[in-house]
Amino acid sequence: MSFPMPDLVPAYAEIFLVVMASAILIADLVIPGRDRGITYGLSLLTLLGCAVLTVGAVQGTGGQVTYTFSNMFVSDFMGNLLKMLTYIAVAACLVYSRGYMSDRDLLKGEFFVLTLFAMLGMMVMISANHFLTLYLGLELLSLCLYAMVALNRDSASSTEAAMKYFVLGALASGLLLYGMSMIYGATGSLDISAVAKALEGGRPAKTVLVFGLVFVVAGLGFKLGVVPFHMWIPDVYHGAPTAVTLFIGSAPKLAAFAMAMRLLVNGLLALAVDWQQMLIIMSVLSMAIGNLAALAQTNIKRMLAYSTISHMGFMLLGLLSGVVNNNWLNAADAYSASMFYAIVYVLMSLGAFGMVILLSRAGYEAEELSSFKGLNRRSPWFAFIMLLVMFSLAGIPPTAGFYAKLSVLQATIAAGQVWLAVVAVMFSLIGAFYYVRVVKLMYFDEAQDTAPLEAHLDMGVLLSANGLAVLLLGILPGPLMQLCFYSIKAL
């Protein structure tokens, strides 16, 4: 029996990562020192290596869409771009988390290994061209995240959060699998491209398909954290150690976006009319509940959790505007708007949670909104960085968040859904209130806590760069928009 060797070039980064993560797992046992300097360095080097290999993969495949492992794995421009951004986001998470985790005695080898395996999961999701690959990546990511949330095992709220996350996550995985099985039943394939072909040809059993689609969208909604599948978000964000919240709130959003693209656009585009309707409901509800609930929060992690929900709802506006009356003309515009939104959101989320970490120190969690009081007195520079991030989340120009909103709103209006755009801006007005409140706390109120801010040099520099990137992308958003557009076009 012949066993053809698959083309490994597109997957070099994944292979390298799995080798390195395993090596770090073992090496960490023998590496001395409590500050895990070597493990930390190795992890960052691994990310760098992945980046090099991904660039190599783009060159090796000539930038063409390449399938390998019997069509289960795809390497295309969108995937590679998202992977590169994932590396950056994960690297930022590691840098931001180091001091925080070490102060709490949580900086163990597991943290790094779980982070790297979670990233592997994301990369597999991003490159999946098969329902099973997708599911595999998703489970790898989720299992690592469950464990990371519970990393602080003496904390009741962390373990509770992990438990909730696990139970609901398992349920969502079940829904997704069930939906996939229905689609498999209707089309006879698990291969995403083959499913798309089967749907384009004579439409097989529509009832079963739509039935399956509902479950797939529900599973997807859970992973994105949109209403009504959002229940886990506030508790997990709140209960997890802030460094883990930072991780959950950033890079996995890129993977979730990729998953939505692979499933809905690459696979089930022929059913766009059906899933777009579901997304409209989820989007409007997310913007409504996310923004309204965020108003009432006094804990900044919970506030940002609800804000995530509303932002994911906003991001869906692009995904649901692609196909109008069976017309694909706006599709690339709309999907690239969503992609841009997801990327900008990750950048802002990193900045916001990074600031929460910066304000925390040994024995003190800066979880309450009031810990931001008077920050302008304590550190004008970081207050300014937080100001940029908050105005960006609120979508006020000249910050990146504005262009993210602009591009999805443009897509919505081009799809003829003016009412949806009006609803969206009204909820973002409500959202502006709680972001502006953070600025108010930092600038207008007197500090309760006057301890000077201590930041590791690497964290300080990176966080500043993060904040300035929000501004820079606000002044020159063109290139990134173009990249997103190109990567969707090339799908």
Binding site: I396, I413, F444, G478, F485
Partner: protein, 491 residues
């Protein structure tokens, strides 16, 4: 060709960055001097705009055009015509004055205070110079950030409420404006150029919808009755310089929006709804004038008087004749000088007495004769005495109204009664009479710096009152073009 417009926008912003870099209050002196240099330089670069302005044409001049975000065909497109050029000069001039006015009063976070004004100045120039709708929007919104900080950090006791109210109120309007712009972008086949929109044919229902979306943004900014309630709060709580810029320039953004967007883009809706707009304007003139009469707080009184004067401006626009529109524009410039002067006068007294209540004053003329003389002039200008700038604009608008309808002119003309009533009555209670209390008895007359600020404004007020021809000449050709354009139906 020197890019004067770009300089007038970015020079103050760059100066603001330099001022910000001076850091804490240890370097307050340096920050003040640098801010003054920056403001003066910012004013100097606007002078060529007036001296080499070609009054013979209504076309855009000093045009700069560069692609900015090619993905959405957004350009860095600047240019001024006779309508907008004066506001850039006015704004840069007022910035110099407010920097001087805050010289001694502001003792905490001086660098941030001065930098906010410089940023604000650059952004406001950007609003008036933008010919790309999205660029306009970016500047329009970005002005909220420094103003929010100015009111919230250096404002009065209730500053936080006022700052947040100011921010959310204006954001509400502008978000609808954004949706309207995206709709126009879609209709025009992918252009954000304001001049393209001027030629874009639009059906009446669409025009009506857009008109109300524009109205939401601009009426809040003007502010028109009944969405004016944020203004008294913001004015009362803002620091003196903030009130001056708010009244002198920021209110003009709304009125400017009407002439740049509503009238030329939506001529049919403007005609159809002119009655509605005129009624709102007259309510502002008469009702708000009466409200001003009963105020006990000087800043509140001037704030209401501003709303009433701005009612004149919107009235002038919507009677569609040359007298009305030119009169409204002259009134805008004049109000820029007069309201800034009135707020600075109140600021002079407030700095000494720390109260704005009329009842706490009396007989100020006995201790501050030079100040009383200046305030006399500005009070007269505020009620529209001939030979002051206040007279010219109001007279022209009343003339224009007379051409349209006698009773319209009659009601509008009552403003001369209300204006004289509230301004002179306040003046009498504060300045004349016997010395009211010990505090007033101990007052020191204005110093050289304050004298210079008020003298510059007095010169401007008298110049415009005695010889307004240079102002009207600059705007003449553009106003004629505008009226010709508005007279042609787009249906």
């Amino acid at each position: 060709m020197t890019p004067w417009l770009s300089l007038s926008i970015w020079l103050p912003v760059a100066a603001g960055l330099v001022v910000l870099a001076t850091g804490g209050d240890g370097n307050a002196r340096v920050a003040r001097v640098l801010a003054l240099i920056g403001a003066l330089a910012g004013f100097l670069v606007t002078i060529p705009l007036a001296t080499s302005f070609n009054t013979g044409t209504g076309n855009m001049q000093f045009v700069e055009l560069m692609p900015w975000i090619e993905r959405f065909n957004i350009n860095y497109h600047l240019g001024v015509d006779g309508i907008s050029v004066l506001f850039i000069l006015l704004n840069s001039f007022i910035t110099v004055l407010v920097v001087m006015a805050g010289w001694q009063v502001i003792q905490s976070r001086v660098a941030q205070y001065m930098a906010s004004f410089l940023f604000l100045s650059g952004l406001l120039n950007g609003v008036f110079a933008s010919l790309d709708a999205l660029l306009f929007y970016v500047f329009f919104e970005a002005t909220l950030i420094p103003m929010y900080i100015l009111i919230g950090v250096w404002g009065g006791p209730n500053r936080v409420y006022a700052a947040v109210k100011f921010f959310l109120y204006t954001l509400l309007g502008s978000l609808l404006f954004l949706v309207a712009l995206l709709y126009l972008y879609d209709k025009s086949g992918g252009s954000f150029s304001i001049l393209d929109y001027h030629k874009l044919p639009l059906a009446l229902p669409a025009q009506m919808m857009l008109f109300f979306a524009f109205l939401a943004a601009f009426s809040v900014k003007v502010p028109m009755w009944p969405v004016h309630t944020w203004l008294p709060d913001a004015h009362v709580e803002a620091p003196t310089g903030g009130s001056a810029v708010l009244a002198a320039i920021m209110l003009k953004l709304g009125a400017y929006g009407f002439v740049r967007f509503s009238l030329p883009i939506l001529p049919d809706a403007s005609h159809a709804l002119s009655g509605f707009m005129i009624v709102l304007s007259l309510i502002a003139v008469v009702y708000i004038g009466l409200v001003a009469l009963v105020q006990t707080d000087m800043k509140k009184l001037i704030a209401y008087s501003s709303i009433s004067h701005m009612g004149f401006v919107t009235l002038g626009f919507f009677i569609f004749n040359a007298y009305g529109v030119e009169g409204a524009l002259v009134q805008m410039i004049s109000h820029g000088f007069v309201s800034a002067a009135m707020f600075l006068c109140v600021g002079v007294m407030y700095d000494r007495m720390h109260t704005r209540m009329i009842a706490d004053y009396g007989g100020v003329v006995n201790t501050m004769p030079r100040f009383a003389a200046f305030m006399m002039l500005f009070a007269m200008a505020n009620c529209g005495l001939p030979a002051t700038s206040g007279f010219v604009g109001e007279f022209m608008v009343i003339m224009g109204a007379m051409k349209a309808n006698f009773w319209l002119a009659f009601i509008a003309a009552t403003t001369l009664v209300w204006g004289a009533g509230y301004t002179l009555w306040m003046y009498k209670r504060v300045i004349f009479g016997a010395v009211a209390n010990d505090h007033v008895a101990r007052l020191k007359d204005i110093n050289g710096r304050e004298f210079l600020v008020l003298a510059l404004l007095a010169a401007a007020v008298l110049w415009m009152g005695v010889y307004p021809a240079p102002f009207t000449e600059i705007m003449h050709a553009s106003v004629n073009d505008l009226l010709k354009h508005v007279a042609v139906s787009k249906l």
